[in-house]
Subunit: 191 residues, 2 copies
DNA sequence: TATTTTTCTTAACCTATATCAATAGTATTT
DNA sequence: AAATACTATTGATATAGGTTAAGAAAAATA
């Protein structure tokens, strides 16, 4: 499944066969069964991972034990707790498989090597970061300016594949509402 | 006031005198009076700016004409609509001076030159982006998991200088609540 | 297939925050 | 100093979305 990983990178930067070898020699494949953890809150996030198969949720747990979903990652998405990965501090996020997964992972050492040996990767990395940042800015904005119903409509527009595959209560949490509220919103919209 | 700009960058990466010249030769200083715009929604964000004096708000305007504040930027902060700046598409954000400001600005061409002539700047840029991204992740999280009162308390803890300088209605908008609600929360906390 | 677990829906009720309107207090501008 | 903007406060009322609880439906597991 490393093919899909290399193809995805190739969409942004050109990779030679030699470049591809660098990735293959430095990345690992992790397999997770549904409900297993890629990362647990409090652990140090050793790996950044590219989801090559399956689906995961990234979330925090508040003082009442309630989950708040930050990200839902399908194939082609990256998962990590960036803060923890960069600083070596304990992670705030938990990352858990919603389905059986295959994840291409690299630790910091592997990334250093890739950055050194595949010069274009620096650019890929920056572009990915910029895209994620802009997307997160927009999410803040939608939370500031839109109702729950508007956010749900925007979500199904933007991520129809997620709506098909992921339990509603996970989507409700991502939107910042109770699952009962999402159920009501859907009923209302069905008319 | 370019001193402050150079000093701030020097806190992250070392700059030689020659490096500093590169910045001085490629950046401009923009001055804005209170209520003037650094960027207006719909325009293309030509510049990224470093606030060397004053204070600005970055916000969107919704279909009812209501403002939603994404960022409050004091001295040392950067302002831009990153999406517009990177893609050349029209900006979603408006950036407006809350006080008379001095802003060190660079356009894309200037940045290209700086990146080429000051090799460490790439690293500075990446670190800044990473920090902003992590901060924005945390903001999403606080909106998902905390009440208005909790968010306000976290805000005054994190940004006491902003509380001193910026009208409450701007802070209320940043927190995603009505100014009346913030007023009531403050009254409640005063007890 | 039967059983257990998880997810979704519905209804009744509740609460945090919004909205509207009036007033008072502060800054700016003339 | 007066006049004109803004900004903050307060009270009355409204509402989106939360909470609790129960049952139905769907999915996973035995």
């Amino acid at each position: 499944m490393i093919e899909f990983f290399l193809d995805t990178i190739s969409e942004i930067i050109e990779l030679t066969e030699a470049d591809k070898e660098v990735f293959i020699n430095n990345c690992l494949i992790k397999k997770l069964k549904k409900r297993q953890f890629f990362l647990q809150e409090g652990d140090i996030c050793k790996y950044a991972g590219f989801v090559s198969k399956g689906c995961l949720k990234t979330y925090t747990v508040d003082k009442n034990g309630d989950e708040h979903v930050f990200q839902i990652a399908l194939e082609g998405w990256w998962v990590s707790d960036m803060y923890s990965h960069l600083t070596g501090e304990p992670a705030n996020f938990t990352i858990e498989a919603l389905e059986d997964c295959e994840i291409v992972v690299m630790d910091k050492e592997a990334r250093e090597k890739i950055l050194k040996e595949v010069p274009g990767y620096e650019r890929f990395h920056r572009i990915l970061l910029e895209k994620n940042y802009v997307a997160t800015q927009r999410r803040v904005n939608s939370m500031l300016s839109s109702s729950a119903e508007e956010r749900y409509l925007a979500f199904i527009e933007k991520y129809p594949q997620i709506v098909q595959r992921v339990p509603q209560l996970v989507i409700a949490s991502y939107l910042g509402i109770a699952p009962e509220s999402l159920s009501r919103i859907r009923k209302q919209l069905a008319k």
